[in-house]
């Protein structure tokens, strides 16, 4: 028989263990260290010419400079970064960049035109996921060294295959794939002909404000101040910790164990309203939430049906009730914050009109349809709201929730009926989205290019023509106007129901200053950050 005394002694193990914790000091984070809690799993490479996911893009954006950078206040402008000036030839095929003097890589070596030309050539030769952003100008592995050159120490010359709008080229060069890396560092660490790719996945060689100390996948990323860079604040080290659970992120932020929490959801953010101890920063990002109506499905082929969908959805109610702080209503394919975005939202819920449209299309009693959607929040709630809205006009919806990648796999196989998914913009130009939503020249199953609209079997020659026309327009103002016209037309004449645009929110301790969030992940910047 165990005596009560023995049992008590045995169970005393618990408090004894936790006693250890009482004696540890849990101080606030040191002043020269910025600690960020975020979901770090969405990245596979920190080589800026390879990585193509949002988290990796943000980190690369803080480690590398490009020739030019988007202006965060005015999306229609481009700021000089490594280049101090540029000119375009009259035929629109030769572009000359003058390099700013005095810039240095984190190794201390000066940034030269040679490095710039090498970097762009490297992006083309590696031909990884983001390469199309610059190879669309006609660069390829064979011509890279002749089309991208550094005739002297401060000049870089790019020769495009076809006449190119300067705006488009500049915006494309401002993407991470246009990052300038140190040639010597990359070649010193090259394995075979990988141009340093394996090494740069987990190391950095840039001229940005910070440099990479270590990346442990699904654990943490540590950045150090680039001693030779421009950074003026008091942060010596940025520690990004992989905290998956948003509730845990919030707790850590409130306790002062982290300075910034990046993945809080509406339910956590609601609780922070009116809380003076936490600052919130919100910025609309270039990611849209939309429904794609597959044109291989017969009942979804009538344009009246497309319209019925668009008038049936309760955009504003959904936004207000489900995602008030993390999404805004947006109905055009180019997200707000990008040049050429059309920010009017003409559609609102009008069930009578939607019903009438369905009847005109020959479906007075509606029909049955399946909607595939992501299982991660807020998608299930949004999907249910859509199900209820469409139910009111007689469309009986079956919801199929699945893991994000599974939905994408199905869409890429063109097997969905309707898919509720998201689309993120690749580079800071309207063409980034317009290209994939509008231009589909080969609608066959084994097409060699498979843009987003191909997945839903959508092909419209008029729209494609408008998109190409806007893309190649040399005059910047006319170009923007053409994009706006295109989006207005597209809204009414496409099987894509764009509903909302996501926002990124950073919840911060009050002593953190100068964090900037951009429209694209690669412009979320810590360059001006300091801690009081």
């Amino acid at each position: 028989m165990i005596s009560r005394r023995n049992f008590l002694a045995a169970s005393a193990v618990f408090p004894t263990l936790s006693y250890l914790s009482w004696t540890s000091a849990f101080a606030a984070t040191p002043k020269n260290v910025l600690v960020v809690a975020m979901q770090l799993d969405n990245m596979t490479s920190l080589d800026p010419h390879e990585g193509f996911e949002s988290v990796g893009a943000e980190i690369c954006g803080n480690m590398y400079h490009k020739l030019v950078a988007p202006n965060l206040e005015d999306p229609d402008k481009v700021d000089p970064q490594i280049a101090e000036s540029w000119t375009a030839s009259e035929d629109g095929k030769t572009f000359t960049f003058k390099i700013r003097k005095g810039l240095k890589f984190s190794s201390g070596a000066p940034v030269t035109a040679e490095d710039c030309a090498f970097s762009l050539q490297r992006a083309v030769k590696l031909n990884k996921s983001p390469a199309f952003i610059i190879t669309q100008f006609g660069f390829n592995a064979d011509n890279a060294e002749t089309a991208i050159t550094a005739p002297d120490a401060d000049t870089v010359v790019l020769k495009t295959e076809n006449p190119t709008a300067l705006g488009l080229l500049l915006y494309c060069l401002s993407a991470n794939v246009g990052a300038i890396i140190e040639k010597k560092a990359a070649l010193d660490h090259a394995e075979g002909d990988d141009l340093g790719n394996a090494w740069l996945r987990q190391n950095s060689a840039g001229s940005g404000e910070f440099m990479l100390k270590i990346w442990r996948a699904s654990d943490s990323v540590v950045l150090l101040k680039n001693p030779n860079g421009d950074y003026k604040g008091n942060i010596e080290r940025i520690i990004m910790r992989h905290i998956v659970d948003p509730s845990s992120q919030l707790l850590m932020l409130k306790q002062g164990d982290v300075d910034i929490a990046r993945n809080l959801l509406t339910e956590q953010l609601k609780g922070l309203e009116g809380d003076d101890s936490i600052k919130l920063m919100q910025k609309s990002t270039a990611s849209i939430m939309l429904m794609s109506l597959n044109q291989a499905v017969e009942k979804l082929q009538n344009p009246k049906v497309w319209e019925a969908f668009k008038w049936a959805v309760g955009y504003h109610a959904m936004q207000k009730n489900i995602v008030p702080m993390t999404y805004v209503v947006h109905q055009a394919i180019v997200p707000e914050g990008l040049p050429g975005a059309y920010n009017e939202n003409p559609f609102e819920q009008d069930l009578e009109k939607a019903k009438a449209l369905l009847a005109e299309a020959g479906y007075p009693d509606g029909f049955e349809i399946e909607i595939d959607h992501y299982s991660a929040p807020p998608y299930p709630d949004i999907a249910q709201a859509i199900q209820a809205d469409l139910g009111k006009i007689g469309i009986k919806v079956t919801l199929l929730a699945a893991e994000n990648r599974q939905v994408l796999t199905k869409m890429r196989a063109r097997k969905h009926q309707v898919a509720l998914s998201s689309w993120g913009t690749d580079y800071f130009d309207p063409n980034s989205n317009v290209d994939v939503f509008c231009i589909n020249h080969d609608n066959s199953d084994d097409a060699t290019t498979r843009p987003f609209c191909w997945r839903s079997h959508f092909q419209d020659d008029k729209i494609a023509k408008m998109a190409e026309d806007a893309r190649d327009e040399p005059d910047p103002e006319t170009r923007i106007k053409k994009y706006v016209e295109l989006q207005k037309y597209y809204m009414n004449n496409s099987p894509f129901v764009v509903m909302m645009q996501s926002s990124v929110v950073a919840a911060m301790r009050p002593n953190v200053e100068g964090v900037r969030l951009g429209t694209l992940p690669d412009s979320h910047s810590y360059a001006g950050t300091s801690k009081a």
Partner: protein, 337 residues
């Protein structure tokens, strides 16, 4: 001697067959899963040309059986392939994540055993008394409350509310990168490095997740111990022992307990194996870089090399622990020869 060798050989053979079967099943499931691993490798926005190149580089354009053959020959050469998501060798990823899980699991098992076994015995001895009822309620909660509720509650109370426990993570910020991994057990590595502050920090970070995990294991261990013990106490040899006038404590500890110890070993081994698979939810809430999270994420992305690698490891653990239990049976139970 020859018989023993033979039995050893057949055991080894069955281990190999188990692992082989596991690898086939996991590999095939992975390949027929409706998730395209290429998306994980190059992203959803990549051009078709890049997608096709990546698919060929990953060998996914070949027939399933050829893919498996490649994989098998690779594994037999000790190469478990690369993870698409981390770009690391699966073996080195596992070497990084598994010790974190193992540390958690080992401490949790020790505590669950130290508390659960006596609790179970106590409940059995006092069958149907108030003590038994209370213990039953405690265990019931361990079976029915979802882990994340308890884990979050623990964080809210002890970390956010009282401020006596550290937050999620394995280490405090200031100790990050200070300790060179030797064994992968952070507590042991800290001791090895002679850094007492880091050791205390590591132990403090273990307290909450270990308590949560041990509570859930404890519920199971207690219930099983109680059941075994009740059974044992009904035995005639107990009546005999009591008739001899032995004290109640001697009857329970010296006569009844040894007979259930062997069964308990199996329970403990299985519990340990369960813990070693990685507790995904606990790891998520406590931001613990363990095997469970690694495996789940790989699975969601169709990143099959890590999935098969981890499955083989887990399979191996089960087989090894079963073997160990077998051996211990032989040592402790004179009826098994």
């Amino acid at each position: 001697m020859i018989r023993r060798l033979k039995s050893l050989g057949s055991q080894f053979g069955s281990v190999l067959a188990t692992l082989f079967g596991l690898s086939v099943v996991t590999f095939m499931i992975g390949r027929v899963m409706p998730v395209d691993p290429v998306i994980a490798a190059v992203g959803d926005n990549a051009s078709q040309e890049v997608v096709a190149k990546a698919r060929a580089a990953m060998g996914l354009d070949e027939p399933l059986i050829v893919q498996y053959w490649h994989y098998l020959t690779q594994v037999l050469h000790g190469d478990f392939g690369q993870s698409v998501l981390t770009h690391n060798e699966v073996a080195s990823d596992i070497a990084h994540y598994f010790p974190a899980t193992m540390e958690l699991a080992t401490y949790a098992l020790i505590i669950a055993t130290v508390i659960g076994v006596p609790l179970g015995i106590w409940a059995a001895v006092r069958q149907d008394s108030l003590t038994d009822q209370i213990i039953r309620v405690i265990c019931l909660a361990g079976h029915s409350v979802p882990v994340f509720v308890l884990a979050l509650l623990a964080l809210i109370i002890f970390y956010a509310g009282l401020g006596i426990a550290p937050g999620p993570g394995r280490q405090g910020i200031i100790y990050q990168d200070m300790i060179t991994p030797v064994t992968g057990f952070l507590t042991i590595d800290c001791l090895y490095a002679g850094d007492w502050d880091a050791f205390r920090d590591a132990v403090a970070h273990l307290v909450l997740p270990v308590s949560i995990l041990s509570y859930f294991s404890l519920a199971y261990i207690t219930r099983m111990t109680r059941a075994f013990m009740l059974d044992a106490l009904r035995g005639e040899f107990i009546v005999a022992a009591r008739a001899k006038g032995l004290s109640a404590r001697k009857v329970v500890l010296n006569h009844a307990f040894p007979t259930i110890a062997v069964q308990l070993l199996t329970v403990l081994a299985l519990t340990y194996a369960g813990l070693l698979e990685g507790a995904v939810v606990t790891e998520t809430v406590f931001a613990w870089p363990g095997l469970g999270l690694y495996l789940t994420k790989a699975l969601m992305n169709g990143d099959m090399n890590p999935v098969v690698g981890c499955t083989l490891l887990i399979g191996l653990i089960y087989v090894a622990l079963n073997l160990l239990a077998d051996i211990l049976y032989r040592v402790f139970d004179p009826r098994v020869s």
